[in-house]
Symmetry: C2
Subunit: 517 residues, 2 copies
């Protein structure tokens, strides 16, 4: 393994886990020349003609799927921190004496701390997917056998579609399924909303196992996952803890600083001329993105304008706007609370999307770039508007990328960040880990002011007469450095020891995450 300087001046390995890598070449610069992943042609003659694919248990299904050492096993994260299927899956894999699995989740949660023992004993070789919380710490300390690979939701779809990651066995936890494997997440006691993050897995894996705690007669409608892609169906008692799968209801932050940021964002969108009839926006369920919605709603009502669509994780706030007729459609990638689940089930204008429709950069366009404004967070930003979303200034890997990189392609990308956290400044000279190139980040909103990327002369002009606190990043940084006593300490890492890499949306390597010393 050699470290190569890529187009973002970051040093990245040429080989990761034995596979040759392409270093980042610049936004929109890498043109794939290969063809899509291809896979074995199946025959109905090999599947039960009555459509009944139910297996007695997960172990039997894994055996039939030919589980062996070194395989790639994928899971999705729609059960969030309530997921018990993934932990159970690896308990079974471990009990079968299988080793060196590449675990390919669409994201991981603190509940997956259970898997650390399997990372330690060699059941799991490495994780490709978000390494949040405890798994991130484990990785940062250099304890994982292989190198972690972080991808955006769109990058995950791209990697599977392009054949960069070949999934041997996909295990899809499904809140409702029929014996044929048609499945959805909107019905059943473990309802979680959409199942879009499992789409690539269902389409491209050699073997697809649906695990459900609500087996219904054929046909399971809607079928968010198509049974025609499924090999086996396994019934279990429970997929997890419903209260951790979705919130009863999502609550908005009470932090005055975050509320101020949220208000600034809504006002900025209005004064920059973005809030107008038929506009669109992306909003997640993170603190500030959620908090900005009521402010925006107020402006929209006052102006009498409607949004054509909203992309993002859905919550009761978006559902209310949909039901009040303030937005025409919710294009939902992930459902955060029970109001969201109910709305997706009942309202044809609340549409499930997938990383294919919304985020895949190796498609014929995607939804993310059509969105007028995206409101996102970051752990760090630097003076060139580059941003970090996976690690903290101390170097620890603690978050996944989610759809963050993909959303940067919106027409106006806004990062909502507090100017410091725990007395550590957020606007730094150089981000610890580069996740998003500054050229794609248009506005940074802090409680101390709003910085507009100098490349966006149009936005600067649009708000030149605004009463909003438009300032330079440097100015805000200086102010914060004074309060916090200067720049944050450099992380104490071994620059020669790469524990994980961050992929760009096109599969190239954008940056490295280093071992904490």
């Amino acid at each position: 393994m050699k470290l190569i300087k890529n187009a973002a001046s970051r040093f990245v390995p040429d080989v990761v886990n034995g596979e040759k890598q392409i270093p980042f070449k610049g936004v929109g610069k890498f043109k794939p020349e290969n063809k899509f992943a291809s896979h074995k042609i199946h025959s109905c003659a090999d599947y039960p003609s009555d459509g009944n694919k139910v297996e007695t248990n997960l172990k039997t299904a894994l055996k039939k799927a030919g589980l062996k050492d070194g395989m790639t096993i994928s899971t999705h994260h729609h059960l969030r921190n309530g997921d018990i299927v993934t932990n159970y899956l690896f308990d079974v894999i471990h009990s079968m004496g299988i080793k060196n699995i590449r675990w390919f989740p669409s994201a991981s949660f603190p509940c997956h701390e259970h898997l650390i023992k399997y990372l330690e004993d060699g059941t799991i070789h490495h994780i490709e997917g978000s390494m949040n919380g405890p798994l991130g710490k484990f990785t940062s300390e250099g304890k994982m056998k292989g190198v972690g690979i972080l991808r955006s939701h769109g990058g995950r779809y791209q990697s599977v579609q392009d054949g960069e990651v070949h999934i041997d066995i996909a295990v899809i936890a499904a809140p409702t399924s029929d014996p044929f494997g048609n499945a959805n997440g909107v019905q059943g006691k473990s309802a979680c909303g959409g199942l879009g993050f499992a789409l690539a897995d269902s389409e491209y894996a050699d073997n697809v196992i649906v695990v459900t705690d609500n087996l219904v007669p054929f046909p399971c409608v809607p079928w968010q996952i198509q049974g025609n892609n499924v090999d086996y169906v396994v019934k279990v008692e429970s997929l997890g803890d419903p209260s951790k799968i979705v919130s009863g209801t999502t609550e908005i932050t009470k932090s005055p600083d975050r509320l101020l940021i949220a208000e600034y964002i809504a006002k900025f969108l209005n004064e920059a001329g973005i809030v107008k009839e038929g506009f669109s926006f992306q909003a997640g369920a993170g603190g500030t993105s959620l908090a900005f919605i009521p402010f925006l709603k107020e402006i929209m009502k006052r102006k009498g304008v409607k949004a054509s669509f909203v992309r993002g994780g859905s919550s009761k706030y978006l559902v209310e706007m949909l039901e009040e007729g303030l937005i025409n459609y919710i294009l939902d990638g992930q459902t955060f609370d029970l109001d969201g689940v109910r709305s997706m089930l009942d309202n044809p204008k609340h549409v499930m999307t997938s990383p294919f429709t919304s985020y895949n950069y190796h498609g014929k366009g995607n939804f993310a770039s059509i969105v007028d404004a995206a409101i996102l967070g970051a752990t760090e930003v630097d003076l060139h508007f580059n941003a970090n979303v996976v690690s903290h200034s101390d170097g620890y890997l603690l978050h996944g990328i989610g759809g963050w990189q993909n959303c940067l392609f919106s027409k106006c990308t806004i990062l909502a960040v507090p100017s410091f956290r725990d007395r550590i400044p957020v606007i730094v000279d150089e981000v610890t880990t580069l996740c998003g190139p500054g050229e794609l980040i248009d506005v940074i909103v802090t409680e101390r002011g709003i910085a507009i990327n100098p490349r966006r002369k149009d936005l600067l002009k649009a708000v030149e007469k605004s009463s909003l606190p438009i300032r330079s990043l440097k100015e805000i940084q200086n102010e914060v450095y004074e309060i916090c006593g200067g720049a944050p300490a450099k992380p104490n890492v071994d620059k020669n020891k790469v524990v994980a890499v961050v992929k760009w949306v096109d599969g190239t390597v954008l940056d490295s995450v280093h071992k904490i010393m």
Copy 2:
């Protein structure tokens, strides 16, 4: 080209249009060893970031798609006999001086007689798809430059998925589309219902052009065709004649013989124990399949049983049953009348299906084999229960296969046929063209009696005490031969001149269609 005897004892060419063929090996016997078709990886960098893919006209779109001689162009048939897009498409192709196109429609209709001049002048080399009416006659007379290839709806999906047919440009007529190419058939003045027959085209073609007469703002919901698969969108004045795209309403035959057959079928299903709580059936909009529905409905109401689902083309009769709660779901492949379109638009229990979900034999199972009973037609049947659906006893190719071959995999396949047509007996010693092997055909119902395939001892036993006229095929044949003056004349064809082949659901060649002398 050499003629080889296949597993059904039919002589089929080893090479068709320059491509090597696999002769039919028996039902479920051919195991594909290849991988799926792969295709070029795209990049969002090459598509408009605002999602606007609208081109000024079809010619520009075809040019950008790189149209050239010898390419494969696909179309779908959801506009049925009201389609003017396909004719217009070939007018444009002809005006560009392009030659030797392989036209790959999901079906053709009498309105496509317009294309005969392009078959004559070399614009179109040959048709792979149904050659109905005038196009069938043209083919039968040996006038087409290449050899026609007939596939079932499922076989068409299989051929594209497997890479047997590579589509260069798919032209998808869409009653509603947004500028990104998300499209559906349930909205707009040319509404036709589902667009499932265009699914494979949208997924696998190198270039996808959506042609619409109802361009709506993003997002077009529902998106039956996903814009992420689309390259260009073209707006035209009109897709065709709405009154020929869907019927105002579908009417049941008044022929006493056909009504008797329909009644026999409903009674048979009941007496054989198939009509019970949660059963399922497939019914199209063809004369007798439609006529049997009211008889079945009567029985269901009397017995107080509900069907779990119905597969097939939808019409007001099925919609009524859905709305009355007699069936739980309509799994709809094709929408035949305005009641069907309205129901698909409004009723979440009226679900669009595609050849992928319902018919593709090279999938991990499909819906067709889950269905308890399928009611189909035929042009001829023979004493071994083999059946023909594409040609008549005079040898002329006059119909497409549709989903017929795929539906033969139902748990009880019933062919509804009059015992003679225009004084020509329908039960023959050997079918002119073999489309469905007798081992998959369970029951043949005529107005003179019901013949059960001797392989289905279970069915024979189930109705042994029935008052229904259960007879042997031979007995019915004898009776009809007496009325009609013996067996029909052998078709006057040149057995060495193959004008078209009939593919089986797995891509192997089941039979040949010969030139009329």
